[in-house]
Symmetry: C2
Subunit: 395 residues, 2 copies
């Protein structure tokens, strides 16, 4: 599952940024130059690595490495934060013998505390020595903060690549982290997607934007948008396989959706994984906007936690989405039980609706009755444990 595409190596080591000697520094390298594309948070308060990386991507430097630390977000750290990114990249570049601007830097953790550079200076050489073709799962573990498990998703491009007469095989694999401060807007917490397929920078950039819109931008844990959200895709071309852009987009979207769902499933304190299908919208943007309003509603999410089929809260959240919906056309299903039609209650079995909510996995469909467009979004419930985790995050 965690096998890397050709030409990539990875490692995860303990640099002492987390307690208990947990893995907290990930390094992913490619032996060959990579075409790269990335999307970043739309939060105006951007962490230093986001500011730093946006310049790298804008200048179209080929990339060779990604260094990721957990335990400290390097956000709200001023000019020192940017200097710390530059030093981190230089340290990695010295180990690998590449240019500093071939190193992409990511951070996640507490906001407003300068990076402990002494610990990174000591740990980066250690990480470089630990690089291995089997190291991606350790790297995925080193990215975790309140995540309870590492998140990986992969796909195979050989079968799909019918256009390639040489029948070469290529692979795509992604790692992600994220459990709280999850309400991505054009990107999510941290995700790195690697492929040895031959893909141009232009195709990477356009396919990543569309894939992210339908995956990471459709999950919400708590409605808070992070300062550090970044999704990076690297293609080193080592396999020699050149998929069509459609073939690549299908595979990239599939990997992004898989990772995004893993993040919602592992939402801080989550006891339920919720799939919300918004149908009958005038266009996809409308379906998505209504869905985002519902998936961020604390009242909807606490009712799901309490297994209470309090469906009026879903309609209320949809009504406050800012979209031009018609309340008298709304229909709602909890699992297979239709509870509402034309905006008014249906006769339904309260026991059946409650039973649908007892499941660990819940599907809800909200039909707007206005058109043919739809969007699927993913979220989790809001539990006592979410409050516990976030009331004591720093301590």
């Amino acid at each position: 599952m965690a096998a890397l595409p050709k030409g990539f190596r990875a490692a995860g080591v303990a640099a002492g940024l987390k307690k208990n000697n947990d893995l907290d520094l990930a390094l992913i390298v490619s032996d060959a130059d990579c075409a790269a594309a990335a999307v970043f948070t739309t939060n105006r308060v951007r962490a230093a690595p986001v500011v730093y990386d946006q310049r790298l991507i804008a200048e179209r430097h080929p990339l060779r490495a990604v260094v990721i630390n957990a335990g400290n977000a390097n956000a709200c750290t001023g000019v020192q934060g940017i200097r710390d990114c530059e030093e981190t990249a230089a340290l990695v570049a010295a180990e690998l013998g590449c240019a500093p601007h071939a190193v992409f830097v990511m951070s996640t953790g507490v906001i407003g505390v300068p990076l402990p550079m002494a610990k990174l200076r000591a740990a980066i050489p250690h990480a470089a020595r630990a690089l291995s073709p089997d190291g991606l799962e350790s790297a995925a573990r080193a990215m975790m903060t309140t995540d309870t498990r590492p998140k990986l998703a992969s796909g195979d491009l050989s079968a799909a690549a019918k256009s390639d007469p040489s029948a070469r095989a290529a692979r795509i694999i992604g790692v992600a982290k994220g459990a709280g401060m999850i309400h991505p807007n054009m990107a999510t917490m941290l995700a790195v997607i690697l492929t040895d397929a031959v893909v141009s920078q232009e195709v990477l950039a356009s396919t990543l934007r569309r894939a992210v819109q339908r995956s990471f931008n459709r999950i919400s844990v708590d409605g808070d948008t992070s300062t550090n959200d970044t999704v990076l895709v690297l293609a080193n071309g080592t396999s020699g396989l050149a998929p069509t852009s459609t073939e690549f987009e299908i595979m990239l979207t599939s990997v992004c959706m898989d990772l995004a769902q893993q993040i919602a499933r592992d939402g801080e304190g989550a006891t339920k994984f919720v799939t919300l299908k918004v149908t009958g919208a005038r266009d996809e943007a409308m379906a998505e906007a209504v869905g985002r309003a519902v998936t961020r509603s604390p009242l909807v999410k606490t009712a799901l936690y309490g297994e209470d089929p309090n469906w009026g809260r879903i309609l209320a959240a949809a009504g406050a989405s800012g979209q031009d919906i018609d309340p008298n056309r709304l229909a709602l299903w909890i699992g297979d039980v239709q509870v509402c039609a034309e905006g008014a209650p249906m006769p339904y079995s309260e026991a059946e609706a409650a039973a649908a909510l007892k499941s660990r996995e819940i599907t809800i469909q909200l039909d707007l009755g206005l058109g043919e467009a739809s969007a699927t979004l993913w979220t989790c419930d809001l539990s006592h444990e979410y409050v516990t985790i976030n009331g004591r995050y720093r301590t």
Copy 2:
């Protein structure tokens, strides 16, 4: 405190909509016709009484009475919901001997369940018989849902009304309810404000709009906007005192701010009352928008509950407000402790910042460093108890 202005009477009775025979039906009447103004929720999913009352107000009927039930919101109830409003108003009008369109109808409680009209038919005559000049506190109690206490605020217009040579005295008093689904947009849960001052319908409407913008629209408990939000002001002119519109606006705004703060203070599960001052904005709308993003952030609110001075979350929430802020100009104070300047950490005493958060009342100032405008907003923390209350609301 709860004395009514001249010419008003009120009552609160138990109609059986709440459990335990709690008060759940409020009736407020004026012996004389009232000029009236109201603002309503901007949620597209409007409860039946909102739809019904918007027509009354648009048609400028003088009002004589307000009937309010708790325990059932009469929202998402379709055509039957409107018919139930009409019948409720007719029942009250029959008791009072006034026109049905002189009766304003408000509801709050569970969404998606038809009003139990048999109970209202039985209870309305009982409420009419119980009307008394001392009945407002009972009426305020009958409006409560998850509120832990009734909410009243009053003011005296005699001293302020220097423009009136006859030195008559007038009074203004308001009652409100609200504890959850509180993120008002142009109005909040339910509030009724009564005065015996002489105020024209035009002045009532314009002053109410401005007063609500600076009071109810500046509180947030959970970021959910209700289907039933309504603020009504009635002026029966019985005192004969005619304040200037400025005098009236000052007093009305003061009463609205007092009620709004009581709602935030009594937010579902709240253990902290938080005053957020956003300063240094380009204009008041910018200050308000940034403030609303911060006061609705679950991560900020859980950190406040945990008494954790995790100030980066406040900057992150401000950054995601959609406003054009400059991260490098942000400054933040928790109580009197400045923790951040120019978007980067200040050397500060963690113990002092933590001590400021231990208080039941917390003041936070966020300076945007861009201009001279400011706005003050009020919110509460997000506690385990909020999750408990909303996981089992209907049961």
